[in-house]
Symmetry: C2
Subunit: 270 residues, 2 copies
Amino acid sequence: MNHPKRTAFFISDRTGITVEKLGHSMLSQFDGIEFQLITLPFVDSVEKAREAVIRINTAAMNDAKRPIVFSTLILPAVHRIIEQSDALILDLFKSFIVPLENELGILSSHAVGRSHETGTRYSERMDAVNYALNHDDGGITRDLGKAEIILVGVSRSGKSPTSLYLALQFGILAANYPLVAEDFENHALPNALKPLIPKLYGLTIQAERLAQIRAERMPNSRYASIENCQKEIKQAEEMMRNAGIPMLDVSAISVEEIATTLLHLTGLKR
Amino acid sequence: MNHPKRTAFFISDRTGITVEKLGHSMLSQFDGIEFQLITLPFVDSVEKAREAVIRINTAAMNDAKRPIVFSTLILPAVHRIIEQSDALILDLFKSFIVPLENELGILSSHAVGRSHETGTRYSERMDAVNYALNHDDGGITRDLGKAEIILVGVSRSGKSPTSLYLALQFGILAANYPLVAEDFENHALPNALKPLIPKLYGLTIQAERLAQIRAERMPNSRYASIENCQKEIKQAEEMMRNAGIPMLDVSAISVEEIATTLLHLTGLKR
């Protein structure tokens, strides 16, 4: 079956990140339709709302199908203008804020851009990012004991992006430390890690997937060869198993999923 | 007015990140109510759904008020169990997937955890994270020309977390480079940056805010003193203005907002 292209808009009076993620996740439920995705952030005035309507209606004409609009607009004046466009409007606020008002017995603030995050929480997250940067890839070993979690594994198993994501998203003090040839030869964890075993979590990966990731960086290298990947993974898994370090196989999951799964497995709090 | 504490649950059959963000943003519309927030990710079986119902009903008894449940459950069998709990259920999928099915003329896949992100897109994001790590804080200057954006500014103006967020969230090759005393004495940009002026974007900040951020790190230091912050910011702004580098004031906005605003201002694509 041949479906025509459709345009989807994500409209917000703030950054649009929330509505974009939610919209993506809902559109991904519909196979076989090609969506053109357009995010319109900071639509916070009547003028910008009118510009948005022009873009929506132009897409409607070009596609000969009305666009899908996901919106998190809070300002009623802005929302009323968008509603008049030639689109299916899926309004996150109307669907949820009204029932919440009824349940909680108070009116919502209808303010633009409020967030529960306090200044303290925000500076915790930024401190965590700096910590993750300083303790990336075995960087500074001073203060390593302050880590809430230390990811270990072979090169390119996803340790760095996962640490940064844990820091940025959840404010968790996450370090990461590579396991390298020298450690395997010594049949021992790096010295800096030995007193910190309860904080270690291993990332492991299928050799085929690792070889593919490494080959994108260094094609045709020994580093990326399947034989070398198999050997390193086998040695790393053996070392982690002997030290009683739990392991997560990250071959088929994204950094976001690795991070959330680790929180779930370790009980670390967001 | 004294409102009782309420419990809110964010329930997902995947990581729960989307439903959590959306739920936070909606609850932040209700001032004066203290919410206890509980995320239940990976609720992907009938057994886990039953455990979730027990937790919800326990909260309902303890609070003497029914909890609010935000859900992105796709599996009908799991959803039906959660619906029987003693809570206000705000179901993101029912509110949006059904209208989308009608509009698009096909049934949704009702699959767990589909995502539009392709393998290529994902490895672009991971490459961007590695790039941002290597080019953090003026790190490696080789390959600096590959950057799509290079953030400049004084120490602790938010360059590092913003670069990492641009990389992790949007797959953008983002570098950052500090402006330091030596540059101000020379009245000239660092040599590595001179051929790359069109890629530079300045982050600037109010002196009071910078002093506060720096004091959290190094209280009572010259580095964190208001006089030193004022001086550095003045010199950095002058240098950026003379070089024709655009500037964004980040004093009152979060890293997520800085990143999205930069995309908006520069036209860089997500």
